[in-house]
Amino acid sequence: MIANRSDMAVIKPFRIAAAEPWRFTVWHGLVLVAALLVALGIGEAQAAAAEKPGIIATILKWTPLLAQGFALNIAMSFLAMAIGTVIGVPLGLAQISLLPPVRAGSWFVTQFFRNSPWLVLLFYCMLLLPFEVNIGGTIIPLPGWLKSTIGLSLPVMANVSELVRGAVRSIPFAQWESAESLAMSRGQTLRMVILPQCIKRMTPPWMNLYAILTVATPLTSVVGVSEAMTLTGDILSSEARTELLVPMYLYLLLWFFLYCYPIARATLALEKRFQVR
């Protein structure tokens, strides 16, 4: 399955099981900051030559609006992660069910959503979900951002499901046998022996999944959600200045880096700590 790997981790299906998961490193940050500085320098020179307001001043002017958009990215990432986890965990447990149909069904669902491109799932959700749902007489509107969030939660769900299955399988079989020979039922074994150990193993890849999801939220701009990426486009078209384009997008990227890099560090630290024991 190496062929499926690509540095466009966000759009292509990715595999947690792969040796090194994709994540932000300090090098990404350095390159990003360097590129931003160069772009700002060039931009300021062009702006000065054209006698227009400075690039930095313009970017700062738009920063509050950008922050609003970014808040929506974060909100969508939280919600998609929550939905994906709440559904993904039972789905993962269904994958280790003793009932073959349950196992097969949950496996299929997991594989389907894990291997579908995120963008395709987003479009499907945008087009197939209604703009409002009627639950027992109460009409709940489904705005675009919510539909996209549901769209993003599908691959999260599938990846969490796979994380659960992988974690359960990584527990030595003797743990099952030990619990069983103490007359513990399957439920007790899972609840008291297997899953507590899985949580520890799952936390770092789960955090990594969250970082990947966050970086994927700008995909929703393609379906018109007013998040940071969309707003950046709007800002650029209202300013109508070509020298602003590169610095502006690099600036936006920096926001994502600053948000995700600490998560990547924490993930690494946890992985190290768990390896020791």
Partner: protein
């Protein structure tokens, strides 16, 4: 006919087991283990020793034959496996203890949650069992903080906390550092001296000679021969037994 203690506590009759791959791992095993008896099973690796033990507490279902534990048929689709396993304790080669629980919690978990016994009373028994395996002071240690031998002794205490009638040991010292083996063997020997019925798979011939009432030699899924340890080790009859003992001693 109800089981009485003068009948074999564990009785295997013509037990056959074939795994998915199609290789017959147990080819008609017959043996009786009386109450209070200690038997050791030796044999080359792959001869089906672990499988044999796992059949006794229904971790592995058998294809043909009969296994009676205190008169209860194990090879019965309606078997209450959990009830059987309350009577049969088992310790494995490794990864026995639950790494996220302390030694004391490991010992207490099953009596509290499976037998629903009173927590205070279980704790008292657990502390006594930990003392019995000479690990007083390690109650609050996590398995990762214990040596392999100490872990195995806690695992034995944990099985004993269920008050089993028979204990199965599957090469419990095979994965240990040599210096921690002795403590585990001492613990098992004391258990045997207390009258616990034990079925022990081991590679420790000196230990088998010392502790067993009867030694069984398996090879290729059959019981080749068995006898009291003195005779068994001094004058093995079958050439396969002789060859195995020559290799290992």
């Amino acid at each position: 006919m109800p089981w009485t203690p003068d009948q074999p506590l564990v009785r295997l009759a013509d037990v056959h087991k074939t795994f998915g791959g199609g290789v017959e791992v147990l080819k008609g095993i017959t043996m009786d283990v009386m109450k209070g008896e200690v038997i050791c099973i030796i044999g080359p690796s792959g001869s089906g020793k672990s499988t044999l033990l796992r059949c006794v507490n229904a971790l592995v279902p058998i294809d043909r034959g009969s296994i009676l534990v205190e008169g209860q048929e194990v090879n019965d689709p309606k078997l209450d496996k959990l009830a059987l396993r309350r009577k049969v304790g088992m310790v494995f080669q490794q990864y026995n203890l639950f790494p996220h629980k302390t030694a004391l919690e490991n010992v207490m978990m099953a009596p509290v949650h499976v037998l629903k016994r009173d927590k205070k009373e279980v704790e008292r028994q657990a502390l006594a069992l930990i003392a019995k395996v000479r690990l007083t002071g390690k109650e609050e240690s996590y398995p990762g903080e214990l040596s392999g031998g100490q872990q195995q002794r806690i695992a034995i205490a944990r099985s004993l906390a269920m008050n089993p009638d028979v204990m199965l040991f599957d090469e419990v010292t095979a994965a240990l550092d040599p210096e921690t083996v002795k403590g585990v063997l001492v613990t098992i020997r004391e258990l045997a001296e207390d009258g616990m019925t034990c079925m022990i798979v081991t590679h420790e011939m000196g230990f088998a000679r010392e502790v067993a009432n009867r030694v069984y030699f398996t090879d290729g899924g059959v019981l080749v021969e068995h006898g009291p340890p003195k005779e068994f080790f001094a004058s093995p009859r079958d050439p396969r037994t002789r060859q195995f003992l020559d290799q290992i001693l």
